[in-house]
């Protein structure tokens, strides 16, 4: 029996396709990488996911789970004719417990739909799902779990792992396991914690128990503008050092400001070198005290103006500026490459200087719009891919940015993941022993190595997969 015949046998009509357009469509995610799709499946239940995975094991074919395909690191790119398991039809919120603030959801639920589904719950303050990636209107909870996604409001509340209590997971042999529990304080190994952020290489989450967070009753959103990027970056460190962890602390530089202002007309200070968008939330006295202190720190560090949103409409406008930055950039050049590294907050001024220098040397435009509060840089290299040789310069500049970030004491990725994009940079952070430990954990979850192989781990290390060669195989 062929792979396609066996896949079709356990799925509803129309849930398997090898149509050329479909396989091309699912050969990539939102990154630049294009893979090769063996087949595309659209399961609707955990049992159907098990069937697909078991069939892949029978035919020794790799599989890749996929949500909306918004990943930027190539994590959902199928390699070697992998079967793409599209989970967007598993999109139900199964159960909400507003008292204990948790919900069971399927992996295809969109991030923003989850918040919309729980916000009217029976809680004095209302509830939401805290991780809020910029793609939250289209990315799925399953994708958030795979990438341990963040977002602007994760500074105070933590990234996805802090908001996932349990996952029902289909392992690569088709068995089902529950990792974690609703009461997530069991003694012993935190397999749930290891699973979150494993980029689809440990198995497929088919049900997820998420923690819900009370909405803040009071919010202050402020925009501080500076004559130098360094003054803005210094302010970030000073705010944190003063004992304030804002709900969000974002930075945009001049070029980004100009692009955004031309796009949304929010009255942004386009002559500033940089702005900080700061949001403090909580109960009223705390919010007022923190907002006052942030304004004072900002002025001491050279802020020219401190604009405080006067109402929800103005707050929404300021956030629209931040969240539509990537769209606004199309006014400058048709293409962009978005990087994602993290550096210690104290290194922000030096690393930003280096990024501008790298872009200048490669004759590229760079815009910076990023999560300054946790040092999570997002340099955007903008370009026109029709320009001969420009992609080589973009990749060379990107590699330098990654190296500069790591040299400054930083790490490869804060929220996009490693995927295909950065797997060969892993040795910058980890030596052979460190990588062996990661390979060992991967093998513990997926001994047969069919769950999204050849991602995350650098190419030579991926040879570790050969440790589990089927009997009779030639090496």
């Amino acid at each position: 029996m062929t792979l396609i015949h066996d896949l079709t046998a356990g799925l509803p009509a129309g849930a398997v396709t090898i149509d050329r357009v479909d396989t091309m469509l699912y050969a990539h995610d939102a990154s630049d990488f294009v893979g090769r799709t063996g087949a595309v499946c659209f399961p609707e239940t955990t049992e159907q996911v098990c069937h697909v995975v078991r069939t892949c094991a029978k035919h020794d074919v790799p599989f890749v789970a996929r949500g909306s395909g918004t990943g930027l690191a190539g994590g959902a790119t199928p390699l070697d004719g992998a079967v793409v398991i599209v989970l967007t039809r598993m999109n139900r919120i199964l159960e909400i417990d507003p008292i204990n603030r948790m919900a069971w959801v399927e992996p295809g639920v969109l991030n923003l739909d989850l918040t919309r589904g729980v916000e009217q719950s029976d809680d004095l303050f209302g509830l939401h799902f805290a991780p809020d990636p910029s793609s939250q209107q289209s990315c799925t909870i399953g994708g958030n779990v795979a990438n341990n996604s963040g977002g602007p409001h994760c500074l105070a509340d933590g990234v996805t792992s802090a908001h996932v209590l349990a996952c029902e997971v289909v392992l690569s042999d088709g068995s089902i396991v529950l990792l974690g529990s609703e009461g997530s304080e069991d003694d012993g190994l935190d397999l749930r914690g290891a699973f979150v952020g494993s980029e689809g290489m440990f198995g497929i989450a088919t049900k997820i128990c998420v923690r819900l967070t009370q909405n803040p009753p009071h919010v202050r959103t402020m925009l501080l503008d500076f004559e130098s990027v360094r003054a803005g970056a210094d302010t970030v460190g000073a705010i944190i050092a003063a004992g304030i962890v804002p709900a969000a602390l974002e930075m945009m530089d001049k070029l980004c400001l100009q692009a955004v202002e031309a796009y949304i007309h929010a009255g942004l200070p386009v002559d500033a070198a940089a702005v900080l968008l700061v949001e403090v939330t909580g109960l009223p006295h705390q919010v007022e005290a923190e907002a006052d202190l942030i304004a004072r720190i900002g002025r001491e560090k050279g802020a020219r103006h401190v604009r405080v949103a006067q109402d929800e409409a103005e707050r929404a406008l300021l956030w629209k500026g931040r969240k539509t930055a990537f769209g606004a950039i199309a006014r400058i050049k048709p293409n962009y490459y978005l990087h994602d590294t993290v550096v210690p907050r104290g290194a922000l001024p030096e690393v930003l200087d280096r990024i501008y220098e790298i872009a200048r040397r490669h004759e590229l435009l760079v815009l910076n719009v990023f999560h300054a509060g946790d040092g999570n840089l997002h340099p955007l290299l903008v370009f026109d891919r029709r320009e001969p040789g420009v992609l080589d310069r973009v990749h060379a500049a990107g590699e330098e940015i990654v190296r500069v970030s790591v040299e400054a004491g930083g790490v490869l990725s804060g929220e996009h993941g490693i995927g295909l994009e950065k797997k060969d940079f892993m040795p910058l952070l980890f030596d052979d022993h460190d990588l062996s430990a990661q390979i060992a954990v991967r093998h513990a979850f997926d001994p047969i190595g069919l769950a999204n192989p050849r991602k995350v781990l650098p190419s030579p290390a991926a040879c570790g997969d050969l440790r589990h060669v089927p009997e009779g195989a030639w090496i």
Binding site: G188, H285, V342, V441
Partner: protein
């Protein structure tokens, strides 16, 4: 990296005998009858506290008191490792979040980087020093709470946080589960809600005026009280948070529940989790990879993992 203090541990592991690691023996772990051939202790000392980064690099054998004192100079602390006896390594090896799990989250979220010695005596690093990081698999969360059977952690980078302006405990007589639910719904992000079937202890943190306003607006008769303590000979277990009400009503006075998290404290040994063969399979494969001859902490009962 300063490797002082590691040589005896590496030597012991490489000698091929079974090795146990211990700090002040202040925490209970599930044990077997087996004793290690030799014991080692972790190195001590706070290496680098960066208040502007809200991180601290600390050796595993450092006492909780020393770490708390150092961080306290800048008004910061590490959740789950901020009070009590024992060592930093011991607290993280056991992975218990304490009474503030509801408001502050899990202790498994505080370890940003873990450096350990593996079963071959090699130095291994997991995670990284920044407060946000998805570079590779999240081994830190796996090592926290592993009772030292996946390797001996000797150094951590931990996430610190500012101490709240105020932290106040209150107590009120509450015997009905519906009333407890009303408290859960009506207070903004409380740090802890404890219920024994007769009284609720509530911990609020933040600006003193906000705390006063929340208490004043509540229909319960709250009285200020000191931080409660769970009897030291009681053991911690976990249930579904939705089942807490029925358990506490049934066992009133003989149980303390951390409402909203499902953590239950009772006298005597805690019940074992309902085990699934698929989960055990992963655990066994992890042990086969990280502790193949069971020479690391052989006294720990790995069936409890």
């Amino acid at each position: 990296m300063d490797l002082s203090g590691l040589d005896p541990i590496i030597e012991a592991i490489r000698s091929g005998v079974s090795v146990g690691v211990r700090g002040t023996r202040s925490r209970t772990v599930p044990i077997t009858g087996v004793q290690p051939d030799t014991w080692v202790g972790a190195p001590v000392g706070v290496i680098d506290f960066q208040p502007d980064e809200m991180t601290v690099r600390v050796r595993a054998g450092t006492s909780i008191a020393e770490l708390s004192s150092e961080l306290g100079t800048r008004g910061q602390f590490v959740h789950g490792i901020d009070s009590g006896v024992g060592t930093v390594g011991g607290a993280l090896a056991c992975g218990r979040s304490g009474l503030h799990r509801l408001g502050r989250g899990s202790i498994r979220d505080v370890a940003l980087e873990v450096r350990l010695i593996d079963h071959r005596g090699n130095l291994v690093k997991a995670g990284g020093p920044t407060v946000k990081n998805v570079s590779g698999f999240d081994l830190c969360r796996l090592f926290v709470g592993s009772f030292g059977v996946l390797g001996f952690a000797h150094e951590f980078v931990l996430r610190t946080r500012p101490r709240p302006l105020a932290e106040c405990w209150f107590v009120a007589p509450v015997s009905e589960a519906e009333e407890v639910a009303r408290i859960q719904r009506g207070f903004y992000r409380p740090s802890s809600i404890l219920w024994d079937g007769r009284e609720v202890h509530l911990c609020l943190t933040g600006h003193p005026s906000d705390i006063d306003a929340q208490i004043a607006g509540s229909r319960f008769s709250w009285q200020p009280v000191g931080a409660p303590e769970v009897p030291t000979d009681w053991r911690q277990g976990t249930v579904r948070p939705a089942d807490v009400a029925s358990i506490v009503e049934r066992e009133a006075g003989r149980v303390i529940a951390q409402v909203g998290t499902g953590t239950i404290h009772r006298p005597g040994p805690s019940a074992r989790r309902e085990e699934q063969p698929e989960r055990r399979g992963i655990v066994h494969r992890l042990l086969a990879e990280f502790n193949p001859r069971r020479l690391l902490n052989p006294h720990v009962d790995t069936e409890s993992l």
